[in-house]
Symmetry: C2
Subunit: 367 residues, 2 copies
């Protein structure tokens, strides 16, 4: 089979059964027929997936590498995902771990439009780690959220994003909220000379999101957030491909298919599909990822990969202000630190604690 | 909290920790802040989610019911999913099991446009179970697929769907394939007097799918297939809401987040989001669902539910022709039996075996 790529799965099986199981995955992810029913020699040669290797991992786990024909993806991102893990995602003994593609295949994907460098330019921070926080809780009015947005911008936080639970609810309708928050951040920037960005959350159906994007552009928004697993991976890809003039911050909500390795889903697939920065649960917070998983995820976002730009890791999920130095030591300077609740716990001292967060990141990143 | 709904999770925990864990889920799925940071009494009263009940299930598993404010969903389907399982999907100790909404909340969802009754009328089968098969394998030309489509239509199979791996690949480009297969099925129908339907597979970005839908309407297609987990749940909902004059067959590909109970995801959520028929892995095939799961899933698709029409269960995934009677006994008449590979194994006797499948379903369903 020429012009092919490799997909790596971890499969739970006995040593006796693994060869048959691997063969079944190859059939499921290509022809979806018993081998005996594949009668066309052209298809058997060029379309049928192959088992490339099987390696024991211990504990009845095996690494299985399957070779898929590139032609089956039609060079189209949604269909590529389908080929990686369409039906096999329904089999609970299989974890999708990684994918290895020849460089020329990467051209089918848009990848980050801004990437690390573009986002740095946007906020005027060429060297240091970036800071991020969230407007919350939902239930506040647009005016209250805009006040918070202005406060965070005056504190110097680079990216001030909507909480991912902010949609188009009555208490802070999208159009009203985005207009007010954008004005608030621009006023603060005019005072401080900074380039902090408000990051609205896009959510809804494709047409609703198209309308939200239109409004954001009109209002001068430079970065938007999206939850690809909720609104569609292909939608994010299409948004990036349409060159909206806005960077994309991807949020992992609804992405809890832990049977796709997080380093692959959030590190590689989100990057290929156009995210300029990817939020994910950091180790040691409210979620369960290990330091190893977080490191691998961040490396996947940043490593040189053909013509695909690097994207920022945004570790989050219960991060504390007093962990800033530890996170900078762990991730280095190409990182966006997202801290939410730990700032809000300051109550009336929210501005001071936000300033401390910004200063600590600037100091720590410059060490 | 007034105007609320309940979400049911299964949580792995010790008896000592479950109360704190349940409280943390309530916070995560609403304000995403520590409780102490919720300072606004209106939000504490009306937006903050509540733990409604905690019940032990044995083996360190608990059923946790959380009450969410309807206002947080904005009556918008993608945001509703976000509220159900956005961030909590990232926590591996939690399974999303069910949702219970007051009837007036169902009005936010489109539900099936055709449903069981509409699909029955479309194919002219008011009482009996329906039959379905798939055009495969990918790699065949459009002409070869159209020949197969004509053969299955002459055998009397009600719904002849694209394999979910058929996209817009060079070997059978979407526009060419759909045009040829639609002609083939119409010619066969003209000969037999039946109303078999060809069911093209929609896949790609929102704009590509909009174009595919336009083409399908133009060609007189009456049923389309879609993989909501690959192309976006909200996209399927928007498609149904746009009243395209075509029924929607939903395919479970990439839906293997086994941490959402299949009976909920495929039985209730797919139905709410507009699927007229839902394919899922039947017990005893290539996949791992139990008979109990399949029964619960089918019941969720069919049970009376406010103004939401029932949708057809389509058990599939390695079904054999000789299991027809067993499946009819298990599911009754409101079912679409989807058999693929087992027909193809007949080789040159494909037409005969397809006819036998159709006859057995008609006989069995009439018992």
């Amino acid at each position: 089979m020429q012009d092919a790529f490799s997909v790596i799965y971890h499969v739970r099986s006995t040593p006796k059964e693994i060869a048959g199981r691997a063969e079944a995955i190859a059939l499921e992810q290509s022809v979806e027929l018993p081998r005996a029913a594949v009668r066309d020699p052209h298809i058997a040669e060029n379309i049928l997936a192959r088992v490339e290797s099987i390696a024991p991992l211990g504990d009845d786990q095996f690494e299985v590498v399957i070779r898929l024909a590139r032609a089956t993806t039609g060079d189209e991102p949604a269909q590529w995902l389908n080929m990686l893990f369409g039906n096999t995602s329904l089999q609970e003994d299989v974890l999708l771990v990684d994918v290895a593609m020849p460089e020329e295949m990467l051209a089918a994907f848009i990848g980050p439009r801004f990437g690390v460098e573009g986002l740095r330019k946007l906020v005027g921070a060429e060297e240091r780690p970036l800071t991020c926080t969230a407007l919350k809780p939902q239930g506040l009015s647009s005016a209250q959220l805009a006040d918070l947005c202005g406060l965070f911008a005056r504190a110097g936080i680079d990216l001030i994003k909507d909480d991912h639970g902010l949609a188009n609810q009555r208490f802070s309708p999208f159009a009203e909220r985005v207009a007010r928050c954008q004005v608030a951040v621009e006023q603060a920037n005019a005072e401080t000379g900074r380039r902090c960005c408000y990051v609205p959350n896009l959510i809804g159906s494709p047409r609703q999101i198209a309308e939200q994007v239109r409004l954001c552009r009109e209002l001068g928004v430079r970065v938007v957030m999206i939850e690809p697993m909720l609104v569609g991976m292909a939608l994010m890809h299409e948004l990036a491909a349409s060159d909206p003039g806005m960077a994309i911050l991807a949020h992992p909500a609804f992405g809890g298919a832990l049977r796709i390795a997080p380093a692959l889903l959030f590190g590689k697939i989100f990057r290929l599909f156009g995210a300029d920065a990817v939020i994910y649960p950091n180790y040691g917070g409210r979620f369960s990822y290990s330091p190893q998983t977080c490191k691998a995820l961040a490396e996947n976002l940043l490593h040189p990969w053909g013509g695909v730009k690097p994207a920022f890791p945004v570790p989050a999920g219960g991060m504390q202000v007093d962990r800033v130095q530890e996170m900078l030591d762990f991730y280095g300077k190409d990182v966006i630190l997202l801290i939410g609740g730990s700032l809000y716990m300051a109550g009336d001292a929210l501005l001071e604690r936000s300033r401390t967060f910004v200063e600590n990141v600037q100091k720590g990143g410059a060490r």
